[in-house]
């Protein structure tokens, strides 16, 4: 009896240890068709051989020096950073009251508000950009509004400039900021708010001393996600900024698609990767340091 029990237990264990092998196909897939190609980009960016040697040969940092010596590259990097950051911040300011409304509304209104945020998120990026192009047109609602308010006398040409890109970015990332923020607000401990309110705190001071500090991780997460989405988006800057107002991604596209310049393309890709990795790492480090203060999540 004891021995059958033992064997059956061992049988279970042996299957279980075998089960870990189920991860292997995915690991293998990513190693071969994800990590290896990324390494090849890294390799090509420091290759001293002719650009047609796609697996690279030799070693040089010349391509990086050339890239950073070009004032256009620096301008594009700086532009990508500030446009992504400003768009993320404005998106956050718009998302915050919206997310609070999601958390405070009754079930029907909440469903409506969430659906409105999900709708653009599940629609094609190019379609979303079409929508922004329509709204920003010469006779579009934004120009009409500005003229009605007397802020401008002539319709403004938004497309292919910073305003179009910032507006497009905000629209693009808004759902990605609203949804985590709403989830963070829903997780807040209602007893804290009740206690503060019982003790006579006003709504404004509750918001400032309890809600806002507890939401800092959600707010930071939303901003980081928005920033990286803006930084790495291609369709939005491609259609709203075009060739005349390049971001890092569209500069990469120009080098690859129009100029067939694989090596410069690889250099830009590495720069983009570094910016994203540094941002994410800085955020993670900051979050870990704060982890003692905020409840583990």
């Amino acid at each position: 009896m004891a021995s059958t029990l033992k064997t059956s237990t061992r049988g279970t264990r042996s299957f279980l240890s075998g089960s870990a092998a189920l991860v292997l196909p995915a690991i293998l897939l990513l190693l071969v068709t994800y990590i290896l190609p990324l390494l090849q980009v890294l390799r090509l960016s420091v290759s001293s051989a002719d650009p047609s040697v796609l697996d690279g040969a030799g070693f040089t940092l010349r391509h990086y020096f050339e890239f950073f010596a070009d004032p256009t590259s620096l301008r594009v990097i700086w532009r990508s950073l500030w446009i992504s950051f400003v768009s993320a911040l404005i998106a956050l300011v718009i998302a915050y009251p919206y997310a609070i409304s999601v958390a405070k509304s009754g079930p029907v209104m909440r469903r409506v508000l969430i659906s409105l945020a999900l709708l653009p998120m599940t629609t094609s990026g190019v379609v979303r950009a079409y929508g922004v192009i329509m709204v920003l047109g010469r006779e579009g609602p934004l120009n009409k509004l500005l003229m009605a308010l007397g802020l401008v006398s002539q319709p403004v040409q938004f497309l292919y400039g910073p305003a179009a890109l910032i507006i497009g970015n905000i629209y693009f990332v808004l759902p990605f900021v609203i949804l985590p923020l709403a989830a963070g607000i829903a997780r807040l401990d209602g007893r804290l708010l009740e206690a503060a309110s019982t003790l006579g705190a006003t709504k404004v001071s509750i918001n400032r001393t309890i809600t806002l500090p507890l939401l800092v991780p959600s707010i930071a997460a939303g901003t980081i996600v928005a920033f990286t989405l803006n930084m790495t988006a291609f369709v939005t800057p491609g259609l709203l900024g075009g060739q005349g107002y390049l971001m890092l991604t569209t500069l990469l596209g120009q080098q690859m698609f129009n100029l067939a310049n694989w090596i410069t393309g690889s250099v830009i890709a590495v720069v983009l990767l570094v910016i994203v990795i540094v941002t994410m790492t800085a955020y993670q480090t900051w979050l870990d340091r704060k982890a003692g203060f905020y409840a583990p999540r």
């Binding site: 990324l38 190019v126 329509m134 709504k203 596209g253």
Partner: protein, 271 residues
Amino acid sequence: MRQDSSRSRLANVSFGDAFRYVATSFGAVILVLPMLAVIVSSFGETAYARFPPQGFTLHWYTAFDEVPGLIASLIYSLKLSLIVTAMSVALALLSAIGLTLRVISGRALITSFLMLPLVLPSIVVGLALMLFFSAFWTADYFTGLVIGHLVISFSYALRSILPALETFDRNLWAASRTLGANPWQAFQTILAPIAMPSVLSAALFAFLISFDNYNVSAFLQDPLTPPLPVVLYNQAEQALSPVLMAVSSALILFSVVLVALFGKYLISTGK
């Protein structure tokens, strides 16, 4: 005194709430207006899409073939995305089971590794795979696209499934196996019901990510039959035809149906 303070609090509340309503409505307008503009301008009579449109016609909804390659690309993209979805979900389910059935060392590291495509820019992946296929592996266009979409969609699928399986009690599995269930039976009766909602959400994300993908497709496309987002993107570089607005409206309608039917599966794990 007491009444005073409660009144002032009341005034405070209504002012704050009023401000919030205005701000929320503003957010709602931003979310809705571009979609609305696309739909409304698809009914205009002018040869180029305008918003607000002039006149009213349904003509553009019957003229999808006016944009060369549009219908072919739609079919191509659907086929591609459905294949990618099936593969992503299967692979993600396998990986999630492998990561949760047993405590394995290095689990956190493996998980972060498998989630990398969520973090790193997809445009870099597109470029990387293009170079990879040119230098090391001459795959046909379709295979290349399947692989390019798969590595990204897989991570989204895994992110949906893994948290659901993490709440699963391993003892249930051990108990069922001790009681004589074979792995397949144990999977069907114990794991599958727990994983089911997350598998649905994984499939939705995998499909949407693939169907909407431009950044990888632009690098790996077959120039003769590009996927739908590439066709839509290339068309937008010229003046926009109302046919594009009609197609886009159809895509928006598809999203409306998706959100109405499966909205709750999209938020629990929303990015």
